[in-house]
């Protein structure tokens, strides 16, 4: 590892890409969160919700729509695409931070020291949340393989380290064990970098969780923007446009035949959907089932581990699960192949969706543990103690008290795991059971040019991805709750 100048260059490229994408994501996500939660910008509530929706798209689709629109390529575009695709993390965490600060803290500082000092105090309060969001983006970007590879194929090459890990593993003439060993050894610097980021993320998140809601909580006062309201709206619409409107528009155009040298029209749209359904309808159903199961596994394990971390004073649990976030998806896939693909019963398991669900759940479990540990911490311990004193059994307390107390967070984590599973490409490429995931034919299709069908599948996937969010929105009637 790191034995050649090329290795070092790729590591440098990866870090540079990570930092650039993170910077973009913070600017877009934090800026939008601030405008939507702190100001009287028109449509703040709906824009705040819409700006989270780019998480519905697989990053590879965002990349494809960008290249289609302006033949964009190279480092800057890869950074921007990755930022747009991951910006919902910074937006959601910053918004959560802003909603958690008691407005009276701000008002006390405003009266004592003036507006500037109050804003600085507020920034200090939400900095852990912003930092946690930024570090999550960084970890996801530096371990990403699909988008840099796609944009390198389509445009100016920008080789990243996780792509090199994949190449080490896919050398054709070496035995599997040696390839896996080489890929693992080669991944060590990337894991080390990610581990540092993940550890920083954990620290930042813990500090963020210290901001608690009191019973008589008062929201932050809204700032009046005056004549800056409409320019602010344009600024806040930028992430929505880049991450939601552009990909949806391009998908719709492809479905209508924009790239197929056919006259565009409704008939082409119908044909695209018919073909997509005929060829990949099964893949779509399979994808939704896998994503739903991943969500269930993540909330079951995340709820349990989060509870032990929060209530059992075992913070190392969060650290341990964060370590798995530091492992790039490519290497996680290689590990699963080595572990499961050994012949006999294990091979049967490897080829079944069970291995895929396990791999995806391992990948996204850290987010579940972090979110649910914080959810348990926000539940006053006395609520559980009061349940214990009733003498009711563990099962009755679990179903009657504990789960309802964190039901909102369980729902959010399930939706997050569901969305991330729908868009995860690296594991789908590596694992045999992942070849049937919808994102795989979409990726192949945008690589090899049959975009009309792929776009139709993408739009179907988009609707399915958004369905739980819409159901939750209708059930709670609160946009903030449904999307955060």
């Amino acid at each position: 590892m790191l034995s050649t100048a090329v290795d070092w260059e790729m590591l440098g490229n990866t870090l540079l890409l990570g930092l650039s994408a993170t910077l973009w994501a913070v600017l877009l996500g934090t800026g939008t969160a601030w405008l939507c939660n702190r100001t009287d910008m028109p449509g703040a509530r709906w824009i705040g919700m819409s700006a989270l929706l780019p998480i519905l798209f697989p990053p590879i689709l965002v990349a494809a729509s960008f290249t289609d629109l302006c033949d964009a390529r190279g480092f800057v575009v890869i950074g921007l695409v990755m930022a747009v695709a991951h910006m919902p993390f910074t937006l959601a965490l910053t918004a959560r931070g802003l909603r958690s600060v008691d407005g009276r803290l701000y008002e006390a500082c405003l009266l004592a020291r003036g507006r500037g000092a109050a804003e600085r105090m507020l920034l200090r309060q939400v900095l852990p949340d912003i930092l946690a969001g930024a570090l999550l983006v960084l970890v996801f970007v530096v371990t990403e393989h699909g988008v840099p590879e796609f944009l390198s194929v389509k445009g100016k090459p920008w080789r990243v380290y996780s792509e090199a890990v994949f190449l080490k593993w896919s050398v054709p003439d070496l035995p599997g064990s040696l390839r896996s060993a080489e890929a693992t050894a080669f991944s060590v610097p990337l894991i080390a970098v990610c581990a540092v980021f993940a550890w920083l993320c954990l620290r930042a998140r813990r500090r963020g969780s210290l901001v608690t809601l009191a019973g008589d909580f008062r929201p932050l006062p809204v700032r009046r923007l005056g004549r800056w309201r409409w320019p602010a709206l344009l600024l806040a619409l930028a992430p929505v446009t880049l991450g939601l409107v552009v990909p949806t528009w391009r998908m719709a155009a492809w479905t209508a035949g924009a790239t197929a040298n056919k006259p565009m029209g409704l008939d082409v749209v119908k044909q695209s959907f018919r073909m997509a359904w005929a060829d990949w309808g099964g893949n779509l159903g399979y994808t939704l089932l896998v994503a739903a199961l991943v969500g269930l596994v993540v909330i079951a394990l995340g709820g349990l581990l989060g509870w032990y971390s929060a209530r059992g004073r075992r913070p190392w649990i969060e650290g341990l699960t964060m370590a798995t976030l530091a492992v790039p998806a490519i290497l996680l896939g290689v590990g699963f192949i080595r572990l499961w693909n050994r012949g006999g019963l294990l091979s049967d398991l490897y080829e079944s969706p069970a291995a895929l669900v396990a791999a995806y759940a391992t990948r996204f479990l850290p987010l579940g543990v972090l979110a649910l540990a914080n959810a348990w911490r926000r539940v006053p311990r006395e609520l559980e103690e009061a349940g214990v004193l009733t003498g009711r059994g563990t099962g009755a307390r679990l179903l009657g008290l504990r789960l309802p107390l964190v039901a909102g967070s369980l729902g959010s984590v399930w939706i997050l795991a569901w969305l991330l599973s729908l868009r995860e490409l690296d594991l789908a490429v590596l694992l045999k059971a992942g070849n049937s995931m919808a994102v795989r034919p979409i990726s192949n299709a945008v690589h090899f040019g049959y975009e009309d069908k792929a776009a139709a599948l993408s739009l179907m996937l988009l609707v399915c991805a958004a369905a739980p969010l819409i159901v939750r929105l209708l059930a709670t009637g609160k946009t903030g709750e449904a999307t955060s």
């Binding site: 006395e382 103690e385 009061a386 004193l389 009733t390 003498g391 009711r392 009755a396």
Partner: protein, 340 residues
């Protein structure tokens, strides 16, 4: 049904509770009283089994809760608790809180809610209840468990002052009707006097005094008790205050002397003990304020702020002479307590 605590000890970070011995008589309302941080709530949680003691035993009605290598699970102690923050489950309406806690039917739950004056609020969620209503539901939920021992942590704290008397009356009535052994916690001496048949005064994790409200209010035995329960000023009898005490008490009164185990006798002075007149200890009024019983003046004597009832014309800066109204009251304490 007596609660017996022997040699109880518990530590967390800088705080240590005990060693502590306490006996709570069956069917009585006992109040743990003391300033914030003295260990009242910790003691309640130890009795409930929500914390584990380091040493000592807790037993109830002859059954060991904690100690001798045994730690009975909280849910098997037959103990119910009204938490300081109420701990009402936010997703359950009032009647369901009771049904879940007691495994009772809706009709039983509603009957109990009616008993605490909440018959018409059975469908309300905790977020839709006022502080006083929440307190009533929390009490009903605890009663729904049919406990042997009822623990109440600062039960009037989250209630508006004008509603406190009604709730206090309810707690007393429930105690008398059910014959339950009730253990309250409060830092408010008025509340303690109102609720308790027995008071237990705690200071920094140690039991300082125990007795009926009348006994402790009238004649606290310790310097801390005099200060906390009566707001008394303290003068030591063999140090810098000796001459002042002698002037206040007059030449005929025999003042105790000497110390045991670092404890000395101190003269306790409440506004009720002092009277301003033509003779006695000369001092200057520094402040006059209005109390419930009438105007009260304050004078600084030997570093101690003495309070005494005065007429409506008394003004700050005025010279007065103070003497004791009746027999002097002596309490035991450390010299450090004087400045506490």
């Amino acid at each position: 049904m007596t609660l017996d605590i022997k040699g109880l000890r518990f530590s967390r970070e800088q705080f240590t509770l005990g060693p502590l011995d306490l006996r709570v008589e069956a069917g009585r309302r006992t109040v743990l009283l003391g300033p914030s941080g003295c260990g009242k709530t910790t003691l309640l949680r130890l009795v409930a089994g929500l914390e584990r003691p380091e040493a000592g035993t807790i037993s109830f009605d002859g059954e060991t809760f904690s100690g001798a290598g045994r730690e009975l699970a909280p849910e098997r102690r037959g103990v119910a608790m009204v938490f300081q923050n109420l701990a009402l489950w936010p997703h359950l309406p009032a009647w369901r809180q009771l049904a879940f806690a007691g495994g009772s039917t809706r009709a039983e739950a509603e009957a109990l809610l009616a008993r605490v004056g909440m018959a018409d609020k059975a469908e309300r969620l905790p977020g839709e209840l006022s502080g006083g209503e929440g307190q009533r539901v929390a009490l009903a939920r605890a009663l729904a468990q049919r406990p042997r021992l009822l623990l109440l942590d600062e039960p009037l704290r989250s209630v508006d002052p004008h509603l406190r008397e009604g709730l206090a009356r309810l707690f007393v009535a429930v105690g008398e009707e059910t014959g339950l052994t009730m253990l309250f916690v409060t830092h408010d001496r008025e509340e303690a006097m109102r609720l308790g048949q027995e008071l237990v005064l705690l200071e920094a994790g140690r039991l300082v005094e125990q007795g009926t409200p009348g006994e402790l209010q009238e004649r606290p035995r310790t310097a801390f008790g005099a200060r906390f329960l009566q707001g008394a000023a303290l003068l030591d009898l063999d140090g810098e205050h000796a001459a002042l005490a002698r002037e206040l008490c007059g030449p005929t009164v025999e003042l105790p002397q000497g110390s045991t185990n670092g404890h000395v006798d101190l003269l306790a002075l409440t506004p009720h003990d002092l009277v301003a007149g033509d003779e006695g200890l000369a001092c200057q009024v520094v402040e006059v304020f209005r109390a419930a019983q009438g105007p009260v003046a304050e004078a600084v004597v030997g570093g101690q702020r003495l309070r005494f009832a005065v007429g409506p014309d008394t003004r700050p800066g005025q010279e007065v002479r103070l003497r004791l109204r009746g027999a002097p009251r002596f309490v035991r304490g450390r010299k450090e307590d004087i400045g506490a």
